[in-house]
Amino acid sequence: MANQAQAVSDSAAEMPQKRPRSHELNALLGLVGIALIFEILGWIFQGQSFLFNTQRLSIMILQVSVVGIIAIGVTQVIITGGIDLSSGSVVGATAMIAMSFAQVSTYPRAVYPELTDLPVIIPILIGLACGIVAGMINGLLIAFTKIPPFIATLGMMVTARGIAKWYTKGQPVSFPTDSFAALGQGMTPVFIFLAIVALFHVALKYTVYGKHTYAIGSNEQAARMSGINVERHLVLVYTIAGLLAGLAGMVIAARGLTAQAGMGIMYELDAIAMAVIGGVSLSGGRGSIIGTLIGAVIFGVIISGFTFLRLDAYYQEMIKGVIIVAAVVADVYRQRMRPRSR
């Protein structure tokens, strides 16, 4: 026993040790590498710099920001070991519904002619409420009926898209008030994205909410045994994901000054790809908001880089698919490399 006590104090003395190299650092190195490749290809094929072009960079960052807002919500969902396929459709539905309460009175064919020129807070609250309701339904289904998240959110994906189309019988909703449009103008989406990143980085890393999110994804049974209210926590996580999808829907609509039923198609997959590229494990328990931020930028750089190289849009879709699969394969490979006795 005395030996053991000695050993303990030894181990306590050598406490400040380095952790192994993090996925975030790996992702960051990947980002630098990919950007350099496009820079070199740019000089070879286009005779100009890829990185040192403020216009291209600002377009890229704007694109990343909008889907990135969704990716932050999806990241938490994936860390719990779940998945959210509904976010793209929730974007479409929220964009339509929020926009219909943000139209100007001078536009004769407003959805609700008597409800025009409303203060901006009303469409925003309605939009957030739509996202919250969609996310909460996802969460309740997953937590209490024990439907796999894949199925529950697939159902919501189809339903929310249906709602988006049914809402105006397929007609786009346009002409928002200036104050609503301001949500998507200039660099506002980027600021919103960065604020969300900061908020959820803190929430996941420094609060009980984050600890329980990781614990559930790591070992749901252990989390339950430890007294975590797993059901309530899952509902909260999916609700927040829905809320962020709703926010993204409004930002997109405000940016384009119009809402269409087809908005946000495939965004759920882009968001999942951003998270997985950033080191969020699809089997749950691992990943971080900073990782997803880097993953989002990598994703943006690749898409923007191919556009810059004038690669056909069809090829871009194919390459996107390959990137998603490659990121998942890398994750599976990482899983195999680590000991896991469960």
Binding site: M1, R19, N219, M225, L236
Partner: protein, 266 residues
């Protein structure tokens, strides 16, 4: 707190079950179990597969609710709705399937579900990592466990280290009783010895223990009394220093004779 006494012993009864019964549909997993544990006492529960050992543990720790019967803990009748209730009453459990979150580090696991926070903001309360680390070090030191880097994810540790973390967690919170369901089933020889040393340490600290084990050598080494379960019923209780392997085995199997001297149980 009636402090019931047994003949020859002036110690308080810490846990008592009266007619504890659990049926799963038509399966009678546990039938009329009358069990008793004194303060500071270490007892083992042995029995064949399906004898009702784990079922018994699940009722005591609040994982399941008994079909009928009473659980009296520390003099009061208990009706645990969940493991959390049992824990709040002072019962900690170390389960067969390691209730640890693999991707979290040691302090996070030790404090899982009862994190130290700075101020209460519901789920968004900020974690007091410093306090959790410090108290984890104390807890591990107290149980004599050596873990080089507490910030490592549990997944990167050996089975023995993981089990030690689980036991330290139980020992650091259990004020009144620890239950261990096959704590060494998946461990190597050296790691088993380490866990057994921790259990001896608990005995010295006077923390009562219920140990479920298949390993009769371990049982005889560690505990005061052996409760034998057979087919969902308590077949009998033997004092460890007044019995031998043969008697235990015959109670386990229900066969008085015909058990070979070198039965595979031992």
């Amino acid at each position: 707190m009636t402090g019931e006494k047994r003949a020859g012993a002036e110690r308080k009864v810490i846990l008592r079950t009266e007619g504890l019964t659990k049926h799963y549909g038509g399966v009678r997993a546990l039938e009329d179990a009358n069990f008793e544990l004194l303060d500071g006492e270490h007892v083992a529960i042995v029995g064949d597969n399906g004898a009702g050992k784990s079922t018994f543990v699940r009722q005591i720790t609040g994982v399941e609710r008994p079909t009928s019967g009473k659980i009296l803990f520390d003099g009061q009748e208990m009706d645990f709705q969940s493991p959390v209730d049992a824990r709040e009453a002072g019962i900690e459990a170390v389960f067969q399937n390691l209730a640890l979150a693999d991707d979290l580090d040691v302090p996070s696991n030790i404090f899982l579900g009862r994190e130290e926070t700075y101020f209460n903001l519901g789920p968004f309360s900020f974690l007091n990592e410093k306090k959790m680390l410090q108290r984890s070090q104390e807890a591990l030191e107290k149980t004599g466990v050596k873990i080089p880097n507490l910030h490592n994810a549990i997944a990167n540790m050996s089975g023995g280290q993981r089990q030690c973390v689980a036991i330290s967690r139980a020992a650091s919170f259990a004020s009144k009783l620890i239950l261990m369901d096959e704590p060494t089933a998946a461990l190597g020889v050296q790691e088993t010895t380490q866990v057994e040393n921790i259990i001896r340490g608990l005995k010295k600290r006077g923390i009562p223990l219920i140990l479920v084990s298949h390993n009769l050598r371990q049982v005889f080494n560690l505990v005061d009394k052996i409760w034998v379960f057979r087919r969902g019923r308590i077949a009998g209780m033997l004092e460890a220093d007044k019995t031998d392997g043969n008697e235990v085995v015959s109670l386990i199997t229900g066969v008085q004779s015909g058990v070979h001297e070198n039965a595979s149980y031992i």
